[in-house]
């Protein structure tokens, strides 16, 4: 049997990407509209709309299952424009450096210790019963 021509595969990829973008932008914009009634960020509303679709449909459509992980894997790039704003706060960061170090380093480590301890207490019991 002849293998599918390369152009066909490329076209298929293109259609999958366009379809995924339409679904994601659609859910996000719906979430944005919903923000007027439900006081949550548009992304959270959009996420719930999409999650509801998956739960009602009973599975994730094949094309979304293929393309979304690719996008999520490269999400880092899309943060950059917003993070650049830190350049505008340079002075403020210098002024508050001690408070920031304390707030970020100490509380993060303290939170980790707490969650580790609670998880261990609760999950040790499961270890003996499951798997």
């Amino acid at each position: 049997m002849l293998s599918k021509p390369r152009v066909y595969t490329l076209f298929q990829h293109l259609v999958q990407h366009i379809g995924t973008l339409i679904v994601l932008i659609g859910a996000y914009e719906l979430g944005d509209i919903a923000s007027a009634i439900i006081p949550l960020p548009a992304t959270i509303n959009g996420l719930f709309i999409l999650l509801l679709v998956f739960v009602v449909y009973g599975k994730v459509p094949q094309f979304l299952n293929t393309v979304i992980p690719v996008y999520l894997g490269h999400m880092s790039m899309f943060f950059v424009p917003a993070i650049m704003a830190v350049w505008l706060f340079q002075q403020a960061v210098y002024d508050h450096w001690l408070a920031l170090v304390l707030a970020l380093v100490l509380t993060t480590i303290a939170s980790m210790v707490l969650v580790m301890w609670v998880s261990n207490k609760l999950l040790k019991a499961t270890d003996n019963t499951s798997r």
Partner: protein, 240 residues
């Protein structure tokens, strides 16, 4: 109809479009280099693509167009797409539903404890040290996944860009401190490690957990999703 008349119909000049295109190309190239660098350094936490890409783009900004705010406007299409991509997190959330159903409160409780303690303790420190109110509100989002953090910070009256920076620093500290926490508590269990990394160090922690083991990765993704959605909802409802 010429290209210039199309563009002016949207209130954009050709120079706006070509500048936007140029900066998007620069961003993509910097990001491409950053992911290569992460591979070369075996995903070292200090070579995180977000950190490297932002540093490189800011460097180019200083060389080409020192007005950072204008460059941010040029990059607006990329910033917009972050919203729809974040909605895509519905897929991992959906995939984690079975673990959540199976273990229920045994995983929800540690996530909730961390989800409450991490922001409140950081907030208290800034409050006690008398930092500006906008900063105090921004740091509340430090432990949730970056896109939610930025969105929620904006909603609370905080600063999205700063939220992203606090967030990324928190994630890095989480990954770097894990071995010491393991040693100190003498606990080194994949499930607990996963929950800690996902709850406190969000996406950066989760990518580390995936390297530890499949189970740690699954628990971290679950914690990331539950804490991200939960904290964003609680903060928006209480303070939004």
């Amino acid at each position: 109809m010429s290209l210039s008349s199309v563009s002016s119909a949207f209130g954009l000049t050709l120079s706006d479009i070509s500048h936007a295109a140029m900066w998007i190309v620069i961003l993509v190239l910097c990001y491409g280099f950053a992911i290569q660098l992460a591979k070369w350094t075996n995903q070292h936490v200090l070579a995180h693509p977000i950190l490297i890409t932002t540093t490189l783009v800011l460097t180019f900004t200083q060389l080409i167009e020192p007005d950072v705010q204008r460059v941010m406007t040029h990059l607006h299409p990329i910033k917009y797409l972050l919203g729809p991509l974040t909605v895509g997190l519905a897929l991992p959330v959906y995939n984690q539903l079975p673990i959540l159903r199976q273990l229920g409160v045994k995983v929800l409780l540690p996530i909730a404890v961390g989800g409450l303690f991490a922001p409140l303790s950081a907030f208290s420190v800034l409050y006690l040290l008398d930092a500006e109110p906008a900063w105090q509100l921004t740091i509340l989002t430090k432990s949730i996944t970056t896109p939610f953090a930025m969105d929620t910070a904006t909603m609370l009256g905080g600063i999205a860009g700063l939220a992203a920076v606090f967030n990324i620093i928190t994630g890095m500290i989480g990954v770097m401190a894990l071995p010491s926490v393991n040693r100190w508590l003498q606990i080194n269990d994949d499930k607990a490690n996963g929950l800690v990394l996902g709850t406190i160090a969000h996406g950066i922690g989760t990518s580390k957990a995936v390297l530890l083991s499949e189970q740690a990765g699954a628990f971290a993704s679950l914690a990331l999703c539950v804490n991200g959605v939960g904290t964003a909802i609680v903060l928006s409802v209480l303070l939004g």
